[in-house]
Symmetry: C2
Subunit: 326 residues, 2 copies
DNA sequence: TAGTATAGTGAAAACCTTTCCACAATATTA
DNA sequence: TAATATTGTGGAAAGGTTTTCACTATACTA
């Protein structure tokens, strides 16, 4: 592979001049520039990005640490993030943690190693102690002290779900979601505000019969058997708010299997975006997040880190996508 | 951030010694080693990976160029690839091309730039001219001259689908899939062998009524309206082989909407893995690829590139996953 | 005991850029 | 015209590693 030196020699100029040409920086005479560009083209020179990273001490790579890129919402977010960062010449390194703390820590170390310039962290583990808040970390959906947060307005989303179910005439409510508290180590996730907003609004509006069901963390999914068990335990429920669309869809299937009509007997609201991502033959009503807006917010935060600007929390609005399950 | 020099100074040794300690290479006295490790721990030294890449001219990053990480099969493959490469300390850079040639070219340039060590290319565009076969490129599902190929045995998969439908008593067959030939520029994709294997086996076994329907490329998906149009066009069909599970599921829904019973009136086979990835309430019969095996094959090919070993084509077996649609 | 492996160490070169600085040539201002 | 800006250029340092090489000290061999 030819280097900048080869270009300089062949063009009869100094390497500094070549550098100025390829970076379009500083003064370069018109004729010199043309000559250099010609040589670059002739010998097929491509600047070595590793060497560039070396001097700049930046490599324009962002790590996205998440439990699992297969989850339909994460998948969408990952896509939008990659698309939008492409425009700023940032690349995305995919880091599936599988919810394993040791992996998350290894990924976090990539910041100290200069393997990546910034890191977006989506975790449900208790790893606060492992986080150096001086590093360029953005937390998604999870409150970590001194780490900038990007999230959707989960609390309002929960309130909206309550309002909709109440307005549609429901009387006995069930929230179902995974236990964001972890097993013994309470972690402060934004996602749990879905439940909190939901329950608080129900109480505000004088609704008494409220059930909560939370199971150990499982990627915002629920086993069908588990879902059925819950539904059998609370047979009188007529309004369900599910922590995610995936859970919502599983519930609908189980409800129908139990002979219930959705939405006539039971109304169901999910969270994420409804049938935008899934298509099970039913259009799930859902509190929708916007992956595109989230991606843009993350991009802005990353650019602020890069420019040494202050990085502020961003909470994005949600909206109700009405389907045929309410 | 402390550097190797800081460690060397504080430990009263040369930087070469520190390097030998952190890389566990060459001779280092026991006491010296302990002293160096102690200092590293004390001052919190982390080797700068950019500098390491500089000397090694390798950065242990693999680019995965694909149309779209949201597609359920790609999503699975991406996941498995990232998981398996993690073990060898390779990181995966996600490169969504959205089927755009200019993006694919930009991603290919990352090899010349030393931005990545190797690249996995999953494309349906005619970009043979842009490919320098001396670069460490692996083509997935697409035949490109002088570029090593990794794929599933699509031809046999097509044959299997034919055999199964015939054995189940079907008489009038339809293949439905996207037009791998592109609009005007024929590209040589492995995926089109699904159709070829299917059709050839049908002919071998004396079946005459064979319909093909191919639509412009669209990520192995089909619009429901389009699906219905095709089904109305060929109302006598009783055995369908769909190029992907996603297409297969859409077909089933449309068939049912048209009052047909699956599998009684029409049998449907998809391709990829069946209900392993999807869950629409039906278990789709499918010719299954193994993302895990593919990921392993890709890993082996990448390691061979890295070791300057010859890199050979790999064709992986498929198997039939019986669901309730045949 | 002399001669040769083996173990242990550090200085310096190399990897390929960017950027600072010094300097030269030309253009502009008073 | 002299003084000062502006434009244009190249040498050299810096960025943080790995690796080669030369060298010393110790252990083994005959």
């Amino acid at each position: 592979m030819p280097t900048i030196k080869d270009v300089a020699n062949k063009a009869g100029v100094g390497i500094a001049t070549v550098s100025r040409v390829i970076n379009d920086s500083g003064y370069v005479g018109k004729k010199t520039k043309e000559k250099v560009l010609k040589v670059i083209d002739e010998i097929g020179y491509h600047p070595n990005e590793i060497a560039r990273s070396m001097t700049r001490q930046k490599n324009h790579i962002v790590a996205f640490v998440l439990p699992n890129n297969k989850h339909v919402f994460f998948s969408e977010l990952l896509y939008e993030l990659e698309q939008i960062l492409f425009e700023d010449d940032y690349k995305v390194m995919l880091c599936n943690s599988s919810e394993e703390t040791y992996k998350e820590i290894e990924f976090l170390n990539m910041l100290k190693n200069n393997r990546v310039d910034a890191l977006i962290l989506l975790t449900n583990n208790d790893i606060e102690d492992e986080i150096d808040s001086k590093l360029p970390i953005i937390s998604f959906d999870r409150i970590i002290e001194n780490v900038p947060l990007c999230t959707s307005d989960n609390y309002t989303g929960g309130q909206m779900a309550a309002d909709i179910l109440i307005d549609k005439g429901c009387e006995k409510f069930l929230f179902i979601g995974d236990d964001a508290q972890g097993v013994n180590t309470p972690v402060n996730t934004e996602v749990s505000k879905r439940r909190i907003g939901f329950n608080e609004r129900l109480k505000e509006r004088g609704k008494k019969q409220i059930y909560n069901f939370e199971y150990p963390l499982g990627n915002y999914l629920i086993q069908p058997e588990k879902a059925r068990e819950v539904l059998l335990k609370y047979p009188d429920v007529d309004g369900i708010f599910a922590i995610s669309d995936a859970v919502g869809f599983t519930l609908i299937k189980e409800l129908e299997a139990l002979g219930k009509n959705v939405p006539k007997d039971v109304k169901v609201i999910g969270f994420d975006g409804g049938s935008k991502f899934f298509d099970y033959g039913r259009k799930l009503s859902s509190i929708a997040q916007s992956p595109k807006k989230i991606a843009k917010a993350l991009r802005d935060m990353i650019l602020n880190f890069s420019d040494n600007q202050p990085v502020k929390d961003i909470v994005l609005p949600v909206k109700f996508n009405e389907g045929d399950t309410t």
